[in-house]
Symmetry: C2
Subunit: 356 residues, 2 copies
Amino acid sequence: MSSEPQGAPAAPFADCPVPITRPEEILLGHGSGGKLTSQLIERVFLPAFRNPLLEALDDQAIFPLGESRVAFTTDSYVVTPIFFPGGDIGELAVNGTINDLAVGGAAPLFLSLAFILEEGLPIEDLRRIVASARRAAEQAGVRIVTGDTKVVGRGSGDKIFINTSGIGVVAPGHDLSSRRVSAGDAILLSGPIGDHGVAILSCREGLAFEGAIQSDTAALHTLTGAMLAAFPGIHAMRDPTRGGVAATLVEIATRRRLGIEVDERAIPVRDAVRGACEIFGLDPLLVANEGKLIAFVPEEGADRVLGAMRAHPLGREAACIGRVSEDHPGIVLLRTPIGGDRVLDLPFGESLPRIC
Amino acid sequence: MSSEPQGAPAAPFADCPVPITRPEEILLGHGSGGKLTSQLIERVFLPAFRNPLLEALDDQAIFPLGESRVAFTTDSYVVTPIFFPGGDIGELAVNGTINDLAVGGAAPLFLSLAFILEEGLPIEDLRRIVASARRAAEQAGVRIVTGDTKVVGRGSGDKIFINTSGIGVVAPGHDLSSRRVSAGDAILLSGPIGDHGVAILSCREGLAFEGAIQSDTAALHTLTGAMLAAFPGIHAMRDPTRGGVAATLVEIATRRRLGIEVDERAIPVRDAVRGACEIFGLDPLLVANEGKLIAFVPEEGADRVLGAMRAHPLGREAACIGRVSEDHPGIVLLRTPIGGDRVLDLPFGESLPRIC
């Protein structure tokens, strides 16, 4: 790493004081959505693939193709277990990639579906997953148009991994990117957080409240469509998956060199999720969601967007949770219920591996 | 499988007489490109995702988007070892997806790159692979615009799996699909076969001729461009990867219910590859290629296309290897060097797992 510019201003976490304990190997934490993930992106991927589309680090690339503006995204799903309360890896893979298109302001149109199967996977499990992916695609009105299947030997995979890539089209007048987030923006959250991560974790641990907490996996494109119809000038949207709401806010504050202030009491969390987080020792802000979004909206449009969210089944409990400011650039400040402020930070490594 | 229409005429291998020994589990052979792969596609994937784009079972889907015709493809790469004579998994993943676009007559434009990393992968290996993928993309003039990284624990993956999806544009006047293959078409092969599979296998086995045989991994889009410029009416192209030339020919003969006649002596095979295949007990026709293509060309354009292939560095040893006919539908007949004919068939299961 000696060639790395130390503390380069545009690179979040490059000046992270925590030493990498075994820097020469991939750790589980590199997949966490936390600091190690950011380091890997900053130090390995971005230097290799420098181009404006990739450097935006949005959930999707948007580029012109003929007369259209096309959005393109990819995600691999390695969640374990593959069946969990509220969904399975097939549905998750379809909804997750739809959401990465939707939060770019795109209408999702076409998906690819690529399987890496481990020898020994029951074909009945594969059928269930395929059926679930199909249902999710049908419900969302997107078409699965191309695919691939690879098989690896026992112990070289884990049952099933799915990659879904997606293509959508961005309507004229929509221009969403984390680059547009500005001081004064209202931060809107579409609903209660932490359901997906807690559902997965309680399923893994076999805990009794298992059935009570379900993954929130859902396709958000009709919600984003309603929001953009209400106010086309939304600056940016993100779906807070790995690393939760915290990862989204910290990444944007760091990368945009803006301050973010969030009122913790304004963030909806179901009681069951809050209770489970206490048992597991987790902060709900760090737990993955699969059917929620965060929008950064100029002040003048915030009420209209919030109204549109609350009128949509997937946004009924939407809330304004904070503001972007010019103060304390790079810092997310959380106003706690007891009145004090704390700095919201990301864990260095991994709290919940293979959550999506 | 009781709901499956037995011997349904449009489903190749549905009437395969060989019993599946353990039908309830995924076997390595399901990823071979042979009969088990076809069965999995016919029995699990196609019934779930019936739509005209997917049912064509070409290497890419082609659909209108605005004024453009867009090609979209996906492939996961699980090759082992990840570094091999002539290339590595990064270069292979980029070239392979470029080729899936190119054989659809598309100019490749944008790629996604999604990694599934196993905990413990040396970061230096990841850097090499990323650098190699970047070089391949630069050489081909395509842009890697979006990506994803997941990490799985030790023993839940195998070093690194890569998914690349790709987007290209098909120029007006080009219409390539296996559906257009017709009796009378000349079958053109772009060069000597079997290099990739033999390079991988000799590397795995640590054999002495390892250095002499290199993977043929290459991006074929400038070759396909030259071929289409010479004769835009090419019916179909395929790159014979898993399952080799045999899988491509048998699939098209079976699916299109046409006969194919191939002259074995016309098929170029390097001496070193032929020798290695004898040692391994392999038929070069069944061995994977990563920089070759097969074109189905109406008689009147065959000479022009063959001339364009031979004028291109990646097609210097191109040859016409056979014809499509109306006789013996569904059968690929191979004229052997000693003058007799044999029916070219696919293995049921797996001869070379994880070749790409």
